[in-house]
């Protein structure tokens, strides 16, 4: 179970990265951001290695337990943030993304880590395709949500004329809104593909594209929510604060679909069901 060791190293590196980024948020000391980037980047590499090792050991993409799903999602979240950083000078977002990723891996760390075998029925190439698209889409929505939170803080500070302190360290409103827009379009595209491939896989496995199980219903609801937001943005020029609030609400729905359904409701997407 060397993958578990790698996973634990990841938790440590994310914790260090979180501390460094929070230090950067408080002190605006550029070295802190540098350290944060290094630790988070290092954590990401180790995390990828952990997932690959687990993939080899299990023989399928490691998303069959809540531990695996949380870990996989955290890895994609960090990866998409590191990618975003290449395009936008938004180092400070690390102070929001890193703690979130840390929270996810800590939660994953306390859950049972044994590998749950995948029923033969579900073994298919659709699994990695469906899950990867859906998860990357959700990770991108998480970034939109982070950008939205920072937007609301910056907007509040500027509107209330408290522009001398924290506001100096946050990105400009326009950059945050642009991230919101791009994350929204990309995330929506990915989620759409995720849902469609999920349906195709369901058809192969169970003989029906859509079975109205809670996960599917909530995914559809989330998809509709983002479709509305995208429409509002494109057709009636919602931007700034409204778009930021929507991105946060939308991600709330993502979280519920991702976690709430599994923990509170039942259906084929809930991991325990697979064991029966």
């Amino acid at each position: 179970m060397i993958n578990v060791l790698f996973f634990e190293i990841t938790v440590g590196l994310y914790a260090g990265g979180t501390l460094a980024y929070l230090g950067y948020l408080i002190t605006s000391y550029p070295k802190a951001a540098w350290v944060g980037r290094l630790l988070l980047g290092g954590g990401f590499i180790v995390h990828c290695a952990a997932l690959v090792l687990r993939y080899i050991e299990a023989g399928h993409v490691p998303v069959t337990s809540l531990h695996e799903s949380l870990s996989f999602f955290a890895c994609l979240l960090v990866g998409s943030f590191l990618l975003l950083r290449l395009y936008y000078a938004v180092e400070i977002m690390g102070a929001f993304v890193a703690p979130f990723a840390l929270l996810l891996v800590i939660w994953a760390a306390v859950l049972p880590k044994e590998i749950i075998p995948l029923p033969a029925l579900l073994k298919s190439w659709w699994l990695p395709i469906h899950v990867t698209f859906a998860f990357v889409g959700e990770a991108v929505f998480a970034l939109a949500c982070c950008a939205g939170v920072i937007y609301l803080i910056q907007e509040r500070l500027l509107k209330s004329k408290r522009a001398a302190g924290l506001s100096r360290r946050l990105p400009s409103l326009e950059v945050l809104d642009e991230i919101n827009y791009h994350a929204l379009t990309i995330g929506f595209l990915l989620l759409t593909i995720g849902i469609v491939t999920g349906a195709a896989w369901a058809e192969r496995a169970w003989g029906a594209y859509w079975r109205w199980d809670p996960k599917q219903n909530w995914s559809l609801a989330t998809w509709l929510l983002y479709a509305i937001l995208l429409h509002q943005r494109l057709a009636i020029n919602w931007r700034g604060k409204k778009a930021a609030v929507m991105a946060i609400v939308g991600f709330g729905s993502v979280l519920f679909t991702f976690l709430g359904v599994n923990l509170l409701l039942h259906g084929p997407h809930t991991y325990a069901e697979w064991l029966r």
Binding site: Y29, A164, S172
Partner: protein, 423 residues
Amino acid sequence: MKEIILVGLNYRTAPVEIREKIAFPEETLTHYLKALKGLSSLTEGLILSTCNRVEIYAATDTPEVGVEEIKGFLSVQHQLPLPAFEETLYVLKGEELVRHCFRVASSLDSMVVGEPQILGQIKEAYRMAHATKATSTLLNKLLPRAFSVAKRVRTETSIGNRAVSVSFVAVELAKRIFAHLEGREVLIIGAGEMCELAAQYLVREGVSTILVSNRTWERAVALAERFKGEAIPFSELGRALLRADIVITSTDAPNFVINKDMVVDILKRRKNHPLFFIDIAVPRDVDPQVNSIDNIYLYDIDDLQEVAAANIKGRQQEASRAEGIVAAAVEQFCRWYQSLEVIPTIIALKEKMERIRQKEVDKMLVSFPNLSARERQAMEDLSKTIVNKILHNPITLLKKANENADGEPYVDTVKKLFSVETE
């Protein structure tokens, strides 16, 4: 032992009437540097001349003579009798000089603390002195150190990027609403000095067009011409508000020129693209209610002043952090300077002892010519061991003192006790 001295004056010690007479024009600086190098007591020299300060850095074996020569140099070169400006001069040496140099480069000694120009100026001064071969060991260490201290201060504190003037605060805020200012259009309504200053800063940041509107058409045209912008008739203000991203108002109108309904309507027509109002008129030109609309940001003169005041306070905090960086670097430099002397002292001490030992052993061997080879060797070994044991403590102490940056008194003591000289 050579040391660095500094003779100079700045905006605190000398009024502008004297500063302008003592300043060295940049074009002929090489000529002055050569003259400075020609002074008999100096081995290195550098001239820093800006509108706020004139400072001459030099290395010399005889500090007192050096200072007098530099004073004379200033007097002769500027054809000004020394008593006319002598009391505005300050003379610095040792640790104090190093601190001063680092603080100047880091813009902590500037009239406007944190202003970025001084670093460029001092770099240029060093470049010219270096090119004229007027610098050597000491200044070639001091100045590059000063630059790296300045760089650290700049990157590790936010002392340099806090806007403390109202016009500059406006620009700073614009950059926090818009990702970049290139290609933006700015609308000026009215006229006034602060208005123009803010517009100037914005042009420097790359805004593409300045629109000017004024109740008096001629004045609008005149101001527009100055910024190579566009004059807009006052009646067409609404159309201009559709194009602009930043609006600076400063009319002498008694009532609001821009009210909430107007802005709500315009915002819809500009597809919710943000609009930043900077109202520097008293009484105000823009209804404060405008600030409550999403995507609209309004700062009046008091708001801007408050931000500027907060920035000044922040800058003071940053300055104390910067002083910490400087202090650490000063200590490091002084240690380096002392090590210049400690190592030669140790070597001189060892050499002197070896000479004494050799001489005494030789004398002894002459007195006892019949000693066997083994006995001669034993005498050599014995004398070496005695010398090494005696020297062990003083040398360890010197080395340790060197590391702890308090070597100087020991160096002096050792030199006196053993009467050794270093070059």
